[in-house]
Symmetry: C2
Subunit: 491 residues, 2 copies
């Protein structure tokens, strides 16, 4: 093999980096903690963006765009918000560079800003400042808007896609006349994220709400989806916040309701980011590199022609082109790699690393027999199949791979999900197997903190719908618990 | 009328602001010089982006994404580049906010960065630093990449879309083995921009190269397209730069060619931005507000139901929905506005301000006669037409509007294009009529500067293909000229 990735069992963290790099998804950059998203990674993100965008529009949302710079004073308006974000802000203080006496570039002291700007870590403040101008009457409501943008949160321990100083994301910001409507919106968008994660990413998720300590700074309630990675750690994959009237109060955003009374507006915000790519990688990829679900793969199929002389070349390429066209007509995204400077073996390896779901190869013998070699990336099975009916066969196979990836991920999650009642058992499970653990919790921040300190596990979510009879006793304190919550170590 | 825009003749600049605001395209923001792009403006930009992106992909390009932060030291590497951009940079100097003794938020002095970052004004430096790692051999070439991104250039006199501190754009960055190939790419992308401007924006443009004084900082040659606005001023609508080996040398980016010799890589970069929206507005809009070409309009058709009681409402809405479906099936993007809280008259005015190309209205009498009222935004003509065959009629009309907008803009440009040989005549034309002026220039920066100082006009471009016999004498100095160049006052 020309290149391989470090096996998961040897060094999971190195495996992840290898998959990202050898899959040509992203690189580190000279700007500390920021990543370069390479064409393969960007094509994947664009597919994710387009599907999500369609789902947002189907639920009545439109896109807008707010400035990247947030006036420093805006951050002070919502107390929890500034507390949450002030420690990881990129601060713009000057508007010009100049040369010092030694000829080095420095910020021009004369260009020092009267008011500093921070590069947006999220946009609630600047958006709610504007909503207070856009909203006067109940007729102006609801506002159902979203933006696709880059945001910056200074990261001390960056990891490609999972934690980067700059990342790409979308942030929805909606304004409503009633509390009920805002909560409904919060839950609707959580469902959209769930559908996207499960049906497109083939990544099973649990839905729930966060405990107070993990809530978004400024939110009344943070809803989330949580997925389980192959190393037994959880990944928060999307959040949808019910913001109550907190930002409306901070930015004095009121409206006249149908009874002619002045009321504060109700708010939600919700977001997913390029972090999802990290989740996608750690859900499906293996020791041969990236594995991508067909619904999101930039190329669903790659065709590799094989020939040993010019006569063969002409015929093989003609057959490949014919199949390429058939597949494209059937709506399959297909790439043909007829690059002469690389061997078929090199290409096989390369497209495995890049996670292309299906590979077709055609050589002189296949041509003689009207066959084609078909290899699926997820199971690495190869079969020889007739060229006739290839488009339908491949379409069916792509569906099968999509379903199979989801089923397998769900199976893995099931194997690593535990229910425990005893704190010693809990510690043992967290230490030895990791995974999701359902356990009783008394609802206090102190207990939560102690469990985190002692085991490294955090409460990932409180499930949305608790059934009756789920009450019990906190595994640590023995205090009453209203139902089990989901624990795990997390990214 | 509920709202109208200031007539162009009264105050062109106010007219422009009114069209932007009342068309709900954009607003000023609390971040100085940055704009809020409203949903109408964003939908328009997304349509422009999607068409351009398709054209970039059809010419072999892929998207990637580079960090928003550029290390300060990178700016020093290319002398002209730093000269061109250092004076308008947002400089990030701290990574944290904290509170001072009085409780005010300030940049935490302890978070002062060892190296400052600038928010990208353009990305040649950070990209060529990376290309020097990606490129070793001629086999790695060409690299044909593009990114869609936000950039920041501090603006002293901001105007929505035309000059904003932050704007959205795309920047293509390509790397080539030979000079010829790089120049070919530069010209290819200029053609892509030209096709987009003329066929989609219905905005006629001239192609050419810039004089040295107007070149992109770091470029060997800057190609551009220039359009004429309704006030007789020119707008640079897109640029494509042949960068030679300047950035390759600055970032030590070499490759081993087929003869095993080490050579510097050849470069291009090319970009268009949200500034195009300013050009679109000033090409087509009128004293009733925005006028949009059908190929880019977020909604090509709006349907307004008219009724005076509930019985009528049921029937009218049913007819409107049927027509909406017919149009959608024909590939027309259509919006039905059945909002009960606004009158038809208010809606008529609103969608004129928003520039929707075609408006359909159906009232009880139309229903009786199986008719529909059809109004086109560009000419404001109304006609009563049969409901039967409405989809085909509307599709044809949209094509006709698209063509007509282009023809009219070209006609206006022709009327305001002058050819002069005499400097007094030149001054008079520039002063009194504005517009494009073809005149002889001796090629010297001094003459160019003097003309600009005395008349306010700049050289917009040197035409790409000069025919024989076009030589003459500079209108100001009488020195020999190789051919006429295009002058105008410009945005």
């Amino acid at each position: 093999m020309a290149e391989a990735v470090t096996p998961r069992a040897d060094d999971y963290s190195q495996w992840y980096n290898d998959v990202v790099r050898k899959g040509k998804l992203a690189d580190n950059s000279p700007a500390r903690g920021c990543m370069i998203i390479r064409p393969n990674g960007m094509a994947l993100w664009e597919n994710m963006r387009d599907e999500l965008d369609r789902m947002f529009k189907d639920t009545g949302h439109e896109n807008f765009y707010f400035p990247i710079f947030i006036p420093e004073r805006f951050m002070e308006r919502e107390a929890e918000h500034v507390e949450g974000f002030a420690k990881e802000c990129a601060v713009v203080t000057h508007s010009r560079l100049t040369q010092d006496e030694e000829g080095n570039l420095i910020p021009d002291p004369e260009s020092k800003l009267g008011e500093n700007y921070i590069v947006r870590p999220t946009s609630e403040t600047i958006i709610w400042d504007t909503y207070s101008k856009w909203i006067q009457s109940y007729r102006d409501l609801p506002l159902l808007y979203n933006q696709w943008a880059n945001v910056v949160r200074w990261e001390m321990r960056p990891r490609l896609f999972l934690r980067t100083a700059e990342f790409l994301w979308q942030e929805g910001h909606t304004a409503h006349a009633t509390k009920e409507e805002a909560i409904e919106e919060t839950e609707r968008m959580l469902d959209v994220y769930t559908t996207f994660a499960e049906d497109y990413m083939a990544m099973p998720v649990h839905q729930g709400t966060k405990s107070e300590s993990e809530r978004f700074p400024g939110a009344v309630d943070t809803y989330c989806i949580e997925a389980l990675m192959q190393d037994g750690k959880a990944l928060q994959a999307g959040t949808s916040h019910f913001l109550g009237q907190n930002f409306a109060k901070a930015f004095d955003c009121t409206f006249t309701d149908e009874n002619n009374e002045e009321t504060y507006v109700w708010a939600t915000s919700w977001g997913v980011s390029t972090r999802l790519i990290g989740g996608l990688i750690m859900t499906h990829s293996d020791d041969q590199g990236l594995v991508l679900p067909p619904k999101l793969a930039p190329h669903q199929v790659v065709i590799v022609p094989i020939y040993f002389n010019d006569d063969q070349k002409t015929d093989v390429l003609a057959a490949c082109e014919r199949i390429q066209e058939e597949l494209a007509d059937a709506g399959v995204t297909v790439k043909m790699d007829d690059d002469d400077t690389q061997s078929p073996g090199w290409k096989f390896n390369e497209y495995e690393l890049q996670g292309v779901p299906v590979r077709l190869a055609i050589g002189p013998r296949d041509l003689e027999n009207d066959n084609v070699e078909l290899a699926r990336r997820d199971t690495r099975e190869k079969t020889i199949v007739p060229q006739a009916g290839i488009a339908e066969r491949v379409s069916d196979l792509l569906d099968e791979i999509q379903t199979s990836l989801y089923t397998q991920a769900k199976e893995r999650r099931k194997e690593r999900t535990h229910t425990v009642d005893d704190y010693d058992a809990f510690r043992e499970v967290i230490d030895e197997d990791g995974g999701f653990v359902w356990a009783h919790w008394d609802g206090s921040a102190e207990t939560e903190e102690r469990i985190q300190e002692e085991t490294g596990a955090t409460i990932r979510l409180l499930p949305l719908d608790r059934e009756d009879g789920e009450s019990g006793e906190d595994m640590l304190t023995g205090e009453p618990s209203e139902g089990r919550v989901l624990f795990a170590k997390a990214y």
